[in-house]
């Protein structure tokens, strides 16, 4: 495996339903690699399998066939405490609906992964302040999630995802519940962290604007990875246009198929 590769997805297939029942294939022989420090987007219509893929990469689900290598480990074979350690140390996760605990302060929410790992309070506090400073949310630390805006909540969630300095940050429609200004700010932040920390970001989205922050976009359709787009030397606004054009051709194709 290449030194630079952080995720190596090999022949991943996911079939739902028991053999005796009606089966549904969500992923069909998916293969791709993600380099260290890369910002990758996964785009696709609802039901295309993008969430299933993300769930498998984040060890929330297991593939029916194939393997996923992160570092030198096959993460589909992890069990018990290995899974916990992997989730706690190697990856971070941002959800569409934030998933912050309303009963804890933002600082406590950010520190939660460390708390769950049994880290010392002083050490946790130190790291919370560090990551909060980086994301510019120091002034929010003593507040509760109900007291802040959606955009701020997602920043807190991002801080939680980043606190253990993971190799990979998974984001499932992180801008789905945000207005355009907040969405832009969050994406800028993700990009900044991606650049500074060399964290690989894997973002599932169906929003072309969000996708335009990525370096590379994988299009997933009916469980298969179809085409890829690379930003290359394009400016963000240019890449945005490229994505829109690409999506346009998909829709045309879709209509053609429907008509036939």
């Amino acid at each position: 495996m290449n030194q630079n590769t952080v995720i190596d997805v090999q022949h991943v297939t996911k079939v739902y339903g028991k053999k005796t029942e009606k089966q549904y294939t969500a992923l069909k022989d998916v293969n791709f690699k993600v380099r260290q420090g890369e910002f990758v987007g996964i785009m696709g219509a609802s039901g295309s399998g993008k969430t299933t893929l993300l769930n498998i990469l984040a060890t929330m689900d297991k593939p029916t066939e194939g393997r996923v290598l992160v570092g030198n480990q096959d993460i589909t074979k992890l069990d018990g405490n290995q899974v916990s350690d992997f989730r706690a140390k190697q990856i971070g996760f941002i959800f569409q609906d934030f998933n912050l605990l309303e009963s804890l302060t933002n600082a406590e929410n950010i520190g939660l992964p460390l708390t769950l790992q049994g880290a010392k309070k002083r050490k946790t506090n130190e790291l919370v302040h560090q990551v909060a400073g980086q994301l510019g949310i120091n002034q929010l630390l003593d507040k509760y999630p109900v007291e802040i805006s959606g955009g701020q909540k997602q920043r807190v969630a991002a801080a939680r995802g980043l606190i253990s300095r993971p190799q990979i940050l998974f984001a499932d429609e992180p801008t789905g519940a945000l207005d355009s200004r907040n969405a832009r700010e969050l994406l800028e932040t993700l990009k900044q962290v991606n650049d500074e920390e060399q964290v690989s970001v894997l973002m599932v989205t169906h929003d072309p604007f969000s996708a335009s922050y990525c370096e590379r976009i994988l299009f997933i359709k009916d469980g298969k990875i179809g085409e890829q787009l690379e930003a290359g030397d394009q400016k963000r606004s240019e890449f945005y246009q490229t994505i829109l054009n690409k999506l346009g051709t998909f829709n045309d194709q879709g209509e053609d198929v429907d008509v036939i």
């Binding site: 916990s84 989730r87 998933n99 804890l104 049994g118």
Partner: protein, 601 residues
């Protein structure tokens, strides 16, 4: 920090937990009260017969304990469902299973400790407040009754902590063996409405069959002996489950096809019920069994109390025999509301007791007879008494040394004087009511015991109905007390299960009612639909519970004769309380789901 997390979790869900806490607190409080009474030194010292009541109270505690275990396990599964998402998130963030296990354990134990602690406090208050009532009920007088009892505190806390330990182990097992995705997204899945298949009909038939076997077993308790109870328990629990799983669904299905379903919101209500009943099957079964246990406990408890006078008066027509006519005894007898008072002269020589014929001609002896649970008294002439074995037996039994005596001889006054023995007087008194005169009779009895100066003679060995009444009162009065409070505890627990289940579904239902509102349904109709829907959910287990009790009372035929008399009082009390719970649930539910006319988008 982990402890703080557990604490914050519980605090944050306080309102959700409240309904369940209520059941736990009441259960712990009543458990404490039973223990405090059963282990009360002052009570045990004050009255020898109280030892029998101790058994009754301990039995009550055990029964309460078993049902509480079922309740805790069940209640906890609710709490866990509410917490699933959080636990899923913890796992997602890399929490180790062992640490999560510790968290669940701490949370469950925290709930346990808080509710037990509050329960014991409530229990102390309850015991203090009700001690006077209990003392009257049992006819016991003690000056120093302390509600605070270390033994009871300790056993209550120990017992409940063990219960919660068991519950937390079950919780851990349940949560930690579920995939993270299911935990994170488990609640968003919709229930599927039930389909009517042939299997439903078969299930319905099996349910009725099982219930029939259970009812039969309870009726034949004299033949089956102790086996009747496990048979009935298993068949009735399973039968109830099958019945709810099948018959009521068929009923709703049937109703849906009638014209009734097209009137007003009936179709919607039926749809809601159809939707729910499958999810509710287990809970409705638990509720109807608890309902039966609660109502049964109250009914049987009251039934026992009713037979006390019958028991006491079945072997003698007199309330008390007075052997030593001390000034104090005479004064006390004067205070009584007397119906009858006979004075017989007597001499005891060896195993024979001599009476004077004149006395019995002037003051005929009364004999008690029992016919079909009714006690009647008959005056016997001297001649009748001479030929009545039963009459003579009753006369003999009025002596303190009844077991040493073999025969009665009626002699003339002259002969009586020639007999070489100490003469004494036997005064037999009959009051207008045992319960009413119990206090004075107790003082007379105490006076007699102290005057007789025989360490073997206690109140129980005195002649008359009062000593029997007194010990029966302690046992059966205890039974009534235990029955009533067991009933209350069961009722609280069942209502808390039912209320909680209904209210926890309110968030999901809210959407449906909002939809109705947007479609322009009048609030009045929505409220009516809610009242009906919750009404059915309360009514079905209630009806089945009543049927269970009616058949279950058959078990008490050998003990109580006819347990079916006077059902009205316990049934009325119980149904009223049940109705109150229904109304409270409707009120809270309406507050949660009925949208205001102003729409919110």
């Amino acid at each position: 920090m982990l402890f703080k997390l557990a604490f914050v979790n519980v605090r944050d869900r306080w309102r959700d937990y409240l309904v369940l806490f209520f059941g736990l607190i009441i259960s712990a409080a009543i458990f404490y009260m039973f223990e405090a009474i059963a282990t009360n030194k002052a009570l045990i010292q004050a009255n020898i017969s109280f030892k029998l009541a101790v058994i009754v109270f301990q039995f009550g505690s055990v029964l309460l304990g078993i049902i509480t275990l079922v309740y805790i396990v069940y209640a906890n599964s609710f709490l866990m469902t509410m917490r699933e998402h959080d636990y899923g998130l913890f796992m997602m963030l890399g929490g180790k299973k062992s640490r999560l296990g510790l968290l669940i354990f701490t949370e469950t134990l925290l709930i346990g400790l808080v509710s037990t602690g509050v329960g014991v406090l409530v229990g102390i208050g309850l015991t203090q407040g009700l001690s006077q009532l209990l003392m009257t009920q049992l006819g016991v007088q003690i000056t120093k009754f302390t509600a605070l009892n270390n033994t009871a505190c300790l056993s209550t806390i120990l017992f409940f902590v063990i219960l919660f330990l068991v519950a937390s182990i079950i919780n851990q097992h349940k949560i930690l063996h579920r995939p993270v995705l299911r935990l994170l997204k488990g609640n968003s899945e919709a229930d599927k409405p039930m389909k009517v298949t042939v299997w439903r009909y078969i299930e319905g038939v099996i349910g009725i069959g099982l219930l029939a076997v259970g009812y039969w077993a309870m009726a034949k308790i004299e033949i089956l002996q102790l086996m009747a109870i496990p048979i009935a328990l298993v068949t009735i629990v399973l039968g109830t489950y099958f019945l709810f799983n099948a018959l009521f669904q068929l009923l709703i299905y049937g109703l849906k096809t009638t014209n009734l379903a097209f009137k007003g919101l009936n179709g919607f209500t039926l749809g809601q019920l159809n939707f729910r009943i499958r999810d509710y099957t287990k809970m409705l079964s638990v509720v109807s069994i608890l309902f039966a246990l609660a109502l049964g406990a109250i009914t049987v408890g009251m039934g026992y109390h009713r037979i006390i006078p019958v028991m006491a008066k079945s072997n003698t027509a007199y309330d008390l025999a007075v052997y030593k006519q001390t000034p104090q005894a005479t004064r006390l007898v004067h205070q009584l509301d007397l119906q009858e008072k006979q004075t017989y002269r007597q001499k005891i020589k060896g195993t024979t007791i001599y009476f004077v014929t004149d006395d019995f001609q002037k003051q005929p002896f009364e004999m008690a007879k029992v016919n079909k649970e009714k006690v009647s008294n008959h005056r016997l002439t001297l001649n009748q008494l001479k030929h009545s074995g039963r009459g003579q037996e009753q006369l003999l039994s009025l002596q303190t040394n009844y077991y040493e005596l073999r025969q009665i001889k009626f002699v003339s006054q002259k002969e009586f004087q020639t007999i070489q023995a100490k003469p004494s007087k036997l005064v037999l008194i009959k009051t207008t009511g045992l319960a009413k005169s119990a206090k004075i009779l107790n003082r007379i009895a105490k006076n007699q015991v102290s005057e007789i100066k025989n360490p073997q003679v206690t109140i129980d060995s005195l002649g008359g109905a009062y000593p029997i009444y007194q010990s029966a009162n302690i046992v059966f009065g205890g039974l009534e007390f235990v029955g009533f409070f067991l009933g209350m505890a069961f009722l609280t627990m069942l209502a808390s299960c039912l209320m909680f289940k209904i209210l926890s579904g309110a968030q999901l239902d809210k959407r449906r009612y909002q939809m109705l509102n947007r479609l322009g349904t009048r609030q009045k109709l929505i409220r009516k639909s809610i009242r009906r829907e919750i009404g059915v959910l309360f009514f079905l287990p209630g009806v089945l519970g009543v049927v269970h009790v009616l058949f279950g009372l058959k078990m008490f035929v050998p003990l109580m004769g006819n347990p079916y008399t006077n059902l009205a009082t316990p049934f009325t009390i119980f149904i009223c309380l049940y109705l109150i719970y229904y109304l409270i649930t409707v009120l809270i539910y309406e507050k949660l789901v009925v949208p205001t006319v102003r729409m919110q988008f």
